[in-house]
Symmetry: C2
């Protein structure tokens, strides 16, 4: 992961170890900086990465390229953590809870870069890059819809959007001190579950 350049043919030559380290530091530094300020400058990113500004341009030709790499990195990490939580196993509601417990902080970081990319990429391009994540949520949600555990009068995409919004809100409230670290997870999970559950009117008669 965190590839700076994807050689067209075979890899030109081996990258030195310190270069590898720099790239790593730059990408994570950028994620940090951009999470707290979506317009963080290259200088600020370099500062957080413990690197001089010119070093960034050694590995990323332009700011855009760096943003691409940051997003690629974020999506990959979230996708891997999601996969590790086995979204296809067991009861849909329990599976969603399991996946969210394992990934909600990463998901929130992802929300930050998502906001940046909304104005930078076309909607279709955005959807394409989210596929590694959404392609794991869609089946889970549709499975829950089929089982009557989740609402089926709306699209699975809407359910994804709502869950993501609630995760992000919980992160914000936690960061703002309006939610305590000990209760965030439970609050977030119960709220997300409730938000995508079928309307109460159709619950009892079953």
């Amino acid at each position: 992961m965190t590839e700076a350049k994807t050689p067209i043919k075979a890899s030109a030559r081996k990258r030195r170890a310190d270069a590898e380290r720099s790239i790593e530091a730059i990408v994570t530094g950028a994620l940090d900086a951009l999470s707290s300020d979506p317009d963080a400058s290259m200088a600020e990113i370099a500062r957080r990465a413990g690197v001089v500004r010119a070093t960034i341009y050694m590995h990323f030709p332009t700011r855009e390229a760096l943003l691409d790499a940051v997003m690629e990195n974020a999506t990959t990490q979230v996708a891997e953590a999601t996969r590790a939580a086995e979204p296809a196993r067991g009861d849909p509601a329990e599976a969603l809870e399991r996946v969210l417990r394992a990934t909600w902080k990463q998901l929130d970081q992802f929300h930050a870069v998502l906001g940046i990319n909304i104005g930078r990429l076309s909607p279709s391009e955005l959807r394409r890059r989210h596929l590694p994540i959404t392609s794991q949520y869609i089946p889970l949600l549709e499975r829950g819809q089929a089982a009557g555990v989740f609402r089926s009068d709306v699209s699975a995409e809407w359910l994804i959007a709502v869950v993501r919004a609630i995760v992000h809100t919980a992160s914000l409230e936690l960061q703002g001190g309006r939610l305590s670290p000990s209760t965030v997870e439970r609050t977030m999970l119960t709220t997300a579950l409730a938000a995508i559950s079928p309307p109460p009117g159709e619950l009892c008669p079953s």
Copy 2:
């Protein structure tokens, strides 16, 4: 509303009618511009207001001052529309639905400037300025909590945050074409209601 300057003593002198018009155009133009791009330049704001850039500085000494006025304007408008929807009348769930139906688009505009102000103002200052709105929602939500219609195992502030997040998500999905104009309201309302309802286990026995 939309006062540019609040004179310390008595008002120095009457403002001319065209100045009043300019201020109005600038504030609404700024709201428009900043809603679609949080970093919109003064030039872009001036363009949308149909005014030359220097004119803005006639009425607002600095960009910050303009942002303050825009936020003041937004909160005032939302607060008034909320009040007009009578959040204290009738069943809490119906009252919330009534208020949201009347204000959700304004609330979303407000969400845009809120995002801008999160990095610009201190959390306490932010909360203070939201009071005209939150002070209307808190009683409504607490009333619903007392009546058992809304969850009471979490704070009313959390319920506010969740509702706001869902409103914003609905706006985004509508704008992105992933939700049709005819179904947004219903989807948003049912989701918001579900999100703040008590856990399903305690619903039927009542």
